[in-house]
Amino acid sequence: MMNRSVVLSLIIGFFLGYLLSPAVAQAESARTKLSPHLQMLISGNTDLVETAKRHVHLRTAPEYTEPMVDTLVLFQGDPKAVEAYGARVRSVLGNVATVDIPLSTLEMIANHPNVIRIEEARKLKPRLDVSVPASGANGVWGTAADPPGSSDANLRPLPPPWTGNTGQNVVVGLVDTGIDLSHLDFKDTLGKSRVLYVWDQTVNGTKPAGFFYGNECTKQQIDAGTCSQADTDGHGTHVAGIAAGNGLATGNSKPAYRYIGMAPQANLIVVNSTFFDTDIVDGITYIQNKAAALFLPSVINLSLGSHFGPHDGTSNFEAAMDSASGTGKVIVAAAGNEAAADIHASGTVANGGTTTVGFSVSSGETDILLDLWYPGADQIGVKVTSPSSTCTIPVSGFRYPGNADQISNTTCGQIVISTPVTNSANGDHEIIVELQNIGAAIKAGTWTFTLTGSGCGSTPCVTNGAFDVWVDDVSSNAIFSDHIDTSKTVGMPATATEAIAVGAYTTKTSWPSSNGLGTDSFGTVGDITFFSSLGPRRTCSNGSNPVCTAVVQKPELAAPGEEIMSSHAAGTLTTGVCFAASNQCLDPDGQHIVFQGTSMSTPHVTGATALLLAQNATLTSDQVKTALELTRTDSFTGSTPNNTWGYGKLAVDLAIAGVGSSPPLGHTPSPPTVLSAVAGPDLATISWTGITNDIYLDGYNVYESTASGGPYTKANSNIVSTNSFTVTGLTAGTPYFFVVTRLDTPNLESIDSTKMTATPTTPSSGGGGCGMIDLRRGGPSNPFEPISYLLTLFLPLVLIRLLRRRRDWNRVDLARHIP
C-alpha cells in the first residue's frame, strides 16, 4: 500500500500534467479573450452563471435554436469566419463586430484565431443621464432612497418622486428660439404646462404690457392650447430641457425620466427672440419683471453670442448684463464655440513699422465684418487689400482714427473702413473693416489688412502697439490665415463682468440612437471640448474705467456640452445635428436628441443656479458665482482657475453646501373658499369661489368622506377646471363631508378647504320602463317627489294603453308584469 505522500504526489503530478496539456492551455487561452462576465457564463459554476446572466444580454429569436449571447467582438481577418460555429455577425465597424454567439460555442469561437476579444453587449445609461449626475444635480434633488446630499444619487438616473431641491419657486428664463410647448418635459404630471409665460418677439399679436411688439401667451392660454408660439429651430427646446426639463416625455415603449434636466421643477418663462441685442435686453427685462411680480428669483440662460464688440465688458450690451444681475437675478451665458474657429487674431504694430494680417474668404459670402481694437494712446493706420491685390483701399495711404468712413465700391465687392474717434466707454480705438457683396460679389481668397505705425508726423504713432481683431461670425464664415490667437475667444455677452461664462467639456462619446449606436470621435470623456472658447477677456487702456481694466476670470467654469441628449422640438431637424452619422442624433424614444456646443453647457449652469436660488433666494449674482467656483478638478482641468476651464467642472452638489438657506417665498397655494354643498339624489354638488388672476392655477380637486375627520378620497378623476363639481354615486341618507383643494404649477396642492357637508337624497325611480318603485328607500322626502312617483307608476301604463288603442299593439303587455 502506497503511503500518503506518494498518493499526493501522483495526484499533483496528474493535475499538473492536465494543466500543461495542449488542450487545457488552448482552453485557458480562449478564456482570456472573454470578458469577465462571459468567463463566468461558461464557468459551469451555477452561482457564477446566474450572476453573469444578470449582465449579459441573451438574444432569442425564432430562427435561433438556442439563446445567443449579444456581443462585441474585436477581430482580425474575416469576422464572418465565426459564423461556421453558429454565430451571426450583425454589423461590422472597423475591426469591431456585433455578433450573436450561441452559448454552446462561445468558448470555441473565443479560440478562433480571427477573434482577439469578446465582450458582452452593455446597456448604455440614458443621458442627460450622464451630464446631469456629473454636474451633481441628482444629489441635490434626492429621493426617499437617496436623500439629498447622498453622493450615491449622482451615480445613476434619479427619477421622481424627489424629496429635495428641484428648483421649485425659481424662474428659469430662456431667451432663445422658443420652446415646444407640447413637449411633455415641460408639463407636470397633471398635464399642465410649467411654462408660465411666453413672449414671441418674432410675430405680432398681443403685446406684453410695457412693450411694443411681439405676442405674449399666458399659462392659461398655453394650457388651453391657444398659444401659437413654436420653436421651429429646436435649439431653444433643447436648451430648456437641459436647464429644466423633467424627463416625462418618452415614446416607443421607452421608460420616462431617462433625460431629466438640472432643475426639473423650476418654472419657465420663455422669450422666442429675434436675436438682436436690443430685443435680448427687452427679453431679459420681461422675464425679470414677471419673476419680480411673482416674488420669485430668476436665472436667465443666454446660449448665444457675438464677437462684434470690445470683448472687455464695456459695450452697452455687456453693461446691460451687469445691470440685469443682482439679488435673486443671475445671467448665465455661453462662452462660445470658437476656440478652434480661427476668428481671433492678435499681434503688435511697431512704431514706424507695419503688420499685415490675412483672412480667408469663401465664395458666396455676403457680409464680412472684422472688428479691431487697440489702445487709445496709439494712432494706427489701416488699409485693405483683396486677393491678388486687385483692389486696395484706400488707393493711397492709410485711414487713421477720426478719418471719415471710407466706402469703396470695387470689382471685389464693397469695402468699408471705419476708423472712429476714441471709444468713450473704454478709451480704445476701434477699426471696422466690412466687405459686402454690393455692386460686385466679394472676391474669394485671402484678403489682407495692413496696420501701420507710421504717418503721425513728429508724434510717435505707437507706444503700445498691441491689437486684437475678431471676425463677426454671426454674418460670415471668414477666418484668419495668420496671427491666429485662440485666446480671448469668449464671446459677448459672456464677457460681461457679471455674466457667468460657461465653457464645455465632454461627458460621453456614444449614445443610443434611433438608428443604432451613435459615436463621436472628436471628444475625450472628461476633457474640454475642442470648440470651447478660451479666456481671458480683453482689457482696455482707459485707466479710469474699473470695468475694463479689471482682470475678470472668463470663462468662470465648464459644464457638459458635447453630445448632450435633451428635449427635441417636434418637426425640427433630426439629422446632421450631432457629431455622429447624420441619422444617429435622435434617441429611440423620438422625444430627445443630441446636440453639442456651449449652448448646451450653459443651461447646465443655469439649472444649477436655479437649484442654488431655490435654496437661497437672497443670493446675489456674485454670491452665485462664488458658490459655483466650488467645482471638481482633475488631471484634465489642471490647476484652476485657468483660461480653458475657469474654476473647473460644474459641481452643484458642492456649490450648494455653502449658500445658506433662505428659500424663495414663492407661493403656497391657498385653498378655495367653498360656498355650498347641495345634496341631490345619490349625489352632492360642491361649489366654491373661483380663483382668478393666478398664473399658477391648474385647477381643483374635490375630496369626499363619510367621516368628518376623514380619511378623504378624491372624487374627481380629472382636474376640475370649473368652480363646481357634482359628486355622484353617493349613498342616500348618509351624511358626506367634502373638501376642495387647489392645484398649482408645478404639482403643488393646497391644504384642504373648510369642510362642507351634505346628505344625498333618495333618488326617484329611474325604472319608468318597468314602472318599478324601490319601496325600500322609504318614499319621497321633497314636495315634488309624489308627482314623480305617480308619473313613474302610471306613465308607462298610460303610454301602453294609448299605443294599444292606436296601433293595436298587443305583443307585449307590460302591465301584466307590474307587481
Binding site: 436690443t278 453670442g305 457675438s306 446691460a320 471719415a404 468712413d405 472712429p420
Partner: protein, 129 residues
C-alpha cells in the same frame, strides 16, 4: 448691413448703391456733421447707418439702439427723451433699449446724461459648432 436692424426700402438701397457706384469712393457725411464729442458717443455702425439714411433722405427712419446713461434716468430725463421721439422698450439700470428716429440721434447723444448709443446687433446661437 444685413444684420443691423433697420427697414430701409429696396428702392432706398438701390438709390444708395446707385449713388455709391457713381462716386466710387465716398466718405462719411454724417461724421462730418457731428462734432467729435457726439461722434465719441456713437458706435461706428450707427454713424454709418446715419450716413446711409442721410443720403437716402430718410431722417424719420426709426432705429433700434441701446443707450447708456450716467445713472438710471429720472422722469424728467425720460420726458426729455420722449420729446425727441424716443420710445423706451426696456430699462436695465443705466441701459435703455429704445427706438428713435434717425434725426434725433444727434440731439439725444448731445444730452449730458447720455454716455453712449450703440446700434442693435444680431447675435448667434451657440449650438452646433
Amino acid at each position: 448691413m444685413g444684420f443691423f436692424r433697420s427697414s430701409v426700402s429696396a428702392t432706398g438701397v438701390i438709390g444708395l448703391v446707385f449713388a455709391m457706384t457713381a462716386c466710387n469712393h465716398s466718405s462719411s457725411m454724417a461724421q462730418e456733421l457731428f462734432p467729435p464729442f457726439i461722434q465719441s458717443k456713437l458706435d461706428p455702425e450707427l454713424l454709418r447707418r446715419l450716413e446711409e439714411l442721410t443720403s437716402l433722405g430718410q431722417p424719420d427712419q426709426r432705429l433700434s439702439v441701446l443707450v447708456r446713461t450716467a445713472s438710471e434716468i429720472n422722469l424728467d430725463q425720460e420726458n426729455l427723451l420722449q420729446s425727441r421721439g424716443v420710445i423706451i422698450n426696456s430699462k436695465l439700470g443705466e441701459i435703455l433699449s429704445v427706438t428713435l428716429p434717425a434725426k434725433s440721434i444727434q440731439a439725444v447723444a448731445g444730452m449730458e446724461f447720455v454716455l453712449r448709443i450703440e446700434l442693435a446687433r444680431k447675435l448667434k446661437k451657440r449650438g452646433d459648432p
